[in-house]
Symmetry: D3
Subunit: 61 residues, 6 copies
């Protein structure tokens, strides 16, 4: 029963999200031999002022 | 000091959330014998296009 | 499809965990009207040196 | 800068984990057009008594 | 490669967030001896009706 | 009531963790003006085979 959480910057289309969850699920089924229907994926979108790398907000880069 | 994170699809009323956190807290106090005031609960609401099961977005089901 | 994550200090018995997930699930079904089989719960146990409050590790309290 | 957290039951080999992170990363690059080196993945393994579905611990199923 | 997630109530300015991520990063570099550019920080803002303490929503306190 | 989760590779001493939570807490109090006793911090340590960057496990780097 893998649970996947994906945190990413806002701005992807629903087509991209659809393709992402479909393919991430397929990869889990293939590599860790779980059942397809057991895979849950949660997407969390962030504003660029809510993610930082090396101490700098993405909105300031 | 239990910390509870609850991820759920948008659309519940504040009355439902109020009842949920009250009763989840009571259940923790009762079952794992922690202090009531020590329980923190965070709710995160998701759009249906941000949750998938079996490789399919909820917004596509 | 609520996903619940519960972070707590180590030391509870499996009986306590069993009661906790059963009752937390029932409370969600009752308060936010989801299906019982849709509720996933993940428990994460922590050492006391991995949780802090007010800047102090639990292992130092 | 996607951050992926994967929660799964213990018992996979390092070869499976290696294949999983490699392919999940490739899928993100392909579907959401991020840079490969920007993808971080965290794996968290769980005991069967730390995950529940429908109110029942996996260790009791 | 520390990954930091900070959950807090809405209402801080971008200046506060900028200072927070800069200083949290510096503290990690200093205390756990990691590289500055390796530190990722994700901020998640919550409405007061999405956080509870002792069974009571912040919006009800 | 900020809740901070810090994910990092295993191997730090308790002295390092003690200093880290103390100083991270001070920084939050200073930059986002919260109360010291309101800050919770959870540390999660990872094996190097449980974290990947750019599709490669840290244990393989």
């Amino acid at each position: 029963m893998p649970i996947v959480q994906i945190e990413m910057v806002k701005g992807r289309t629903v087509e991209q999200k659809r393709a992402m969850v479909e393919k991430v699920t397929d990869v889990l089924v293939e590599t860790i031999q779980c059942k397809k229907e057991a895979v849950s994926i949660v997407i969390r979108e962030m504003d660029k002022e809510h993610i930082a790398k090396g101490g700098v907000l993405f909105s300031d880069m």
